[in-house]
């Protein structure tokens, strides 16, 4: 028999004495890298001025904002699709091979996009960053989830929260890194406003950074469990000791209820993210707050940054808290508290309550991030650890759907309100009330979640997919 490749699952089984706290940094190395996707907007202005060479005065032949928006949309759709398609493959081959595939696709996507920028071919950029890079995003996003849950059966929320927090943190690194590199390469006279060279550099940086995750990750032996760990499932019917395969999971109502839960939570959160900057500027303008006291564009950018921080912190805080409170209760808080807070936002805007407005939107964003981070542990509780990465991958189609649905709803409602003569906070009223309505749907879906029926469980769990 040929010797197993270093990337094979069999070569990544940890020996005695391996410290499981090495696994979260390995996962973070992947998520911090691919989280860059959320900072892609930093390239929009220079990409839209490659011909004119002046970001403030694009030439007619330059790419339009609409064309450039498609790049991120393709990447997010491919994230969901590839996570769904490659999830079962990931469970079979193990996390190391999947992380390597993710690194090659994500880094390679940058390289292809750099060529696209150099040749001024938008289709090559779509293919590179959007399609190839998007596949890297999807595989990378789910690659450590199953492994983390197996290493931390006693702290599933903490473990997955840490990794998925990295996805939020990735944008915070990717944005200033891109700006620094573009300034450097522009000054060095590399052409294309420094964008092509920045794409090449970032592709290389991320490819190398992700190697740390690839070579650090280990899977536990089948019979491994934390010292002194005793499953406490007898106290909670929603935590199973059995296992459901990904193919069977999608036949259960629980999977589709959680699909609705994730989709509603993300769609509502996008409602805030999409409108954050104009919302705070229009609701708290000089006209409302008094001359010279309105929220400026720079302060609005600070507000967006603050929301990003709470999005990041919420991923770890809520997911960790769910280990104590239970997943169903945690989501009930996201939705129950969320309905109140979303409905409150227009009132706070109309009442010029800036401080309260900021506090409320920060809590909302923390629960938006928490929703992403808590879902893998919820899935693991319901369907077991066996193929939780693959099941999570299929559930991420809810994210792709929300990524399209959210902006469409927000833009339609806001434009409609403006056409009807509404201004300031009033123009966002219908947006936030609709988002609160979506959360009611999520609350009901979460309420309906019950333990998975016995018929869907594997007869011989644990050793079915170990390659």
């Amino acid at each position: 028999m040929a010797e197993a490749s270093l990337l094979d699952r069999s070569r990544t089984v940890a020996g005695p004495g391996y410290n499981r706290w090495l696994v979260p940094p390995a996962a973070l190395a992947i998520h911090l890298a691919i989280g860059q996707a959320y900072a892609f907007s930093v390239f929009k202005k220079p990409l839209g001025a490659l011909i004119s060479g002046n970001p403030d005065a694009p030439a007619p032949a330059d790419w339009t904002p609409g064309q450039l928006g498609v790049i991120f949309s393709i990447a997010i759709v491919l994230l969901g699709l590839s996570a769904a398609i490659f999830g079962t493959w990931l469970e079979r081959v193990g996390p190391r091979k999947a992380m390597m595939a993710s690194a090659l696709c994500f880094g390679g996507g940058f390289f292809i996009a750099a060529l696209g920028v150099h040749l001024h071919s938008i289709w090559l950029v779509y293919f590179g960053y959007g399609f190839v890079g998007g596949i890297g995003l999807g595989i990378g996003y789910i690659s450590p989830v199953s492994t983390l849950i197996k290493w931390f059966p006693d702290r599933r929320g903490v473990a997955t929260g840490m990794a998925i927090m990295g996805f939020g943190g990735g944008a915070m690194i990717g944005s200033p890194l891109a700006v620094t590199l573009m300034d450097y390469f522009k000054a060095a006279g590399t052409g294309t406003l420094g964008v092509a060279a920045t794409f090449l550099a970032m592709g290389l940086i991320y490819l190398l950074f992700m190697q740390f995750g690839v070579w650090t990750i280990r899977v536990p032996a089948d019979d491994w469990k934390p010292e002194g760990y005793v499953p406490s499932n007898e106290h909670n019917a929603l935590i199973t000791t059995g296992n459901v395969t990904a193919d069977n999971a999608i036949k259960t109502p629980q999977f589709w209820l959680l699909w609705v839960v994730l989709c509603m939570n993300v769609t509502a959160g996008i409602g805030v993210l999409e409108t954050a900057s104009p919302l705070i500027q229009e609701s708290f303008s000089d006209g409302v707050m008094g001359a010279g006291r309105g929220v400026t564009a720079a302060a609005a950018a600070g507000f967006v940054g603050l929301l990003s921080l709470f999005n990041l912190l919420g991923r770890f805080f809520w997911s960790s808290a769910s280990d104590k409170m239970g997943r169903k209760t945690t989501y009930a808080i996201y939705f129950g508290l969320g309905i109140l807070l979303y409905a409150l936002v227009p009132t706070l805007g109309a009442g010029a309550q800036l401080t309260l407005f900021v506090v409320v939107t920060c809590v909302i964003l923390s629960m938006y991030g928490g929703g992403f981070a808590t879902i893998p542990a919820y899935l693991s509780d319901l369907f077991g650890k066996l193929q939780v990465g693959a099941i999570h991958g299929r559930l991420l189609t809810a994210w792709s759907t929300a990524g399209v649905l959210g902006p469409v709803i927000v833009n339609y409602l806001h434009s409609n309100a403006k056409e009807n003569g509404m201004v300031g906070a009033a123009a966002y009223q219908s947006v936030f009330y609709t988002m609160a309505g979506l959360l009611v749907v999520g609350l009901i879906a979460n309420f309906l979640v019950r333990p998975v029926a016995e018929q869907y469980f594997e007869k011989e769990p644990a050793k079915k997919t170990a390659a």
């Binding site: 089984v13 915070m172 740390f212 940054g305």
Partner: protein
């Protein structure tokens, strides 16, 4: 195929506290840098 820990490579070696600390620093430093950049940007809201 049964999953057995391999003994022919570094998988079998116990991981030291130093390795764990290095791993966390490796991902922690860029994360802290990114968060600090965002925090500085967010301060504009309070000025």
């Amino acid at each position: 195929m049964d999953q057995k820990p391999l003994t022919s490579d570094s998988n079998a070696a116990p991981s030291s506290t130093g390795a764990v600390a290095f791993a966390w620093l490796f991902v922690g430093i860029p994360l802290v840098w990114g968060v600090s950049q965002t925090f500085i940007k967010a301060l504009a809201l309070f000025q």
